[in-house]
């Protein structure tokens, strides 16, 4: 076992980790927007839209995300949509994360009792105001644990983007391995980096939760 040959690749490793973080955070934010919009559509009255969202969820939750990335990167160009590897991976991973988020956030919205909505309506608030101020904050709190664990899965799943030559951590590892033939050492190191990133996010989410959800839980 010899980790020394890896030392000269530290800049590549750091760059790879940054790309992994970028992929994760961008896809998570975009996916969250998709999740909220999709959940609202699922609870809405427009039937074709509900079918569309339902179809989207089933499609993305029941197919390999690797193939989703391939389709965005290799297949969409023949329909005139040509994206660079990083952007293609972002789009595919956003849609993947979004599909899970819709269901998680819908469950969160469903957890808000009807009486809360009525109380808001009875004060003369509009549908949007009731949603934004009365339903959404407690719904997000209820959905938060599931969203954050999905986020960690997304972080680990970004390694799939290596297959379309995105310069993220796993792709960099393959490159270093081909130069040094130190398979065990390389993968041990990036495994540790993934682990450290995941644990750091968990700590960050715990802090965010303390700051954002300050109201006491129902007894």
């Amino acid at each position: 076992m010899n980790f020394l040959p890896l030392w000269r690749y530290q800049n590549q490793l750091i760059d790879g980790a940054i790309v992994t973080l970028e992929l994760t955070v961008i896809s998570a934010l975009a996916g969250l927007v998709i999740g909220i919009a999709g959940a609202v559509a699922l609870k809405g009255r427009i039937t074709p839209l509900r079918w569309l969202v339902r179809g989207y969820i089933e499609l993305f939750r029941n197919t390999p995300s690797l193939i989703q990335i391939f389709i965005v990167f290799f297949v969409l160009p023949s329909f005139g949509l040509k994206l660079p590897a990083f952007e293609a991976a972002c789009v595919a991973l956003s849609l993947y994360f979004g599909a899970y988020s819709v269901e998680i956030i819908r469950a969160g919205l469903d957890s808000i009792p009807r009486s809360q909505i009525e109380a808001g309506q009875c004060l003369g608030l509009s549908g949007w105001q009731v949603f934004r101020h009365i339903i959404l904050p407690p719904a997000l709190r209820n959905a938060y644990p599931a969203v954050t664990s999905q986020f960690v899965l997304l972080l680990l799943g970004t390694s799939l983007a290596s297959q379309v030559a995105t310069d993220e951590l796993f792709h960099v590892a393959g490159f270093i391995e081909s130069r040094t033939y130190r398979s065990f050492e390389v993968y041990a190191v990036i495994c540790a980096v993934y682990f450290a990133m995941a644990m750091s996010f968990k700590a960050l989410f715990a802090i965010i939760s303390l700051a954002a959800f300050r109201w006491p839980r129902r007894r």
Partner: protein, 242 residues
């Protein structure tokens, strides 16, 4: 013209006809208490008055305006008609102050600078000025219900509806809520209450409405109704409520 005019209202849930032709007038400043057994349609009637339920046939007018779920200015209408629920329905994620000021701010009734003063004012009226910065979960049931009343008062409603507001409270907490309602009654607020509190019905209300099987079975001033019920149904209800 009465403040609330209810004309031959029918309402069906599935196959159950809950309201079978209810007519009722409530004058401005009047305190009307609706009593009756569970399932007699009293809560449904109350919910129809602010369009939480829509009526099948017949009509309800408040301040001359016809009430239904699709009325064009439903939001404005609901700002004038407050309702307090059995389960308080405070917003758990907002402190007491924000619970009260949310709707006045969002509907443009007041601006930010006056919000806290408004909250202090209405909380003083329900005797909870010191709880302005508390979370709802930190309050007792009776205190939560008083905050819910204060939240309605902040909208300066013309009419207040109370749907069994003391039914979910421990017996020792009922009094503080009734006291607040009594004070509001004295200040001339028009109030329609559904309640099981016969003492309150007897002492504070101008009129008792006894509902039975989806109809207004009997109504009149409390002294007369409690002393000389005309129908055997009311007589047996009064006997069982004691």
């Amino acid at each position: 013209m009465a403040l609330v005019e209810i004309r031959d209202v029918h309402k069906t849930f599935g196959k159950v006809e809950v309201l079978k032709g209810v007519s009722l007038d409530v004058e401005e400043g009047e305190i009307v208490t609706i009593i009756g057994r569970s399932g007699s349609g009293k809560s449904t009637l109350l919910r129809c008055i602010n369009a939480l339920e829509s009526v099948d046939t017949g009509e309800i007018r408040v301040e001359g305006q016809k009430v239904h779920a699709k009325m064009p200015d439903l939001k404005k209408f609901r700002q004038r008609v407050g309702i307090v629920f059995q389960a308080f329905n405070l917003f758990p994620h907002l402190k007491v102050e924000r619970n009260i000021t949310l709707a006045p701010l969002l509907t443009g009734r007041i601006d930010k600078a006056k919000a806290r003063a408004l909250a202090e004012d209405v909380l003083t009226r329900v005797g909870l000025a010191d709880k302005i910065d508390a979370w709802p979960e930190q309050l007792s049931g009776g205190q939560q219900q008083r905050v819910a009343i204060a939240r309605c008062l902040a909208m300066a409603p013309h009419l207040m509806l109370f749907d069994e507001v003391t039914s979910a409270l421990d017996p020792e907490l009922v009094g503080e809520v009734l006291k607040v309602m009594e004070a509001m009654a004295k200040q001339g607020m028009t109030m329609i209450l559904v309640t099981h509190e016969m003492g309150f019905a007897r002492n504070v209300a101008n009129r008792i409405v006894f509902m039975h099987q989806g109809r207004v079975w009997e109504q009149g001033p409390p002294a007369k109704l409690f002393a000389n019920p005309e129908t055997p149904e009311l007589a047996s209800f009064i006997a069982s409520a004691k």
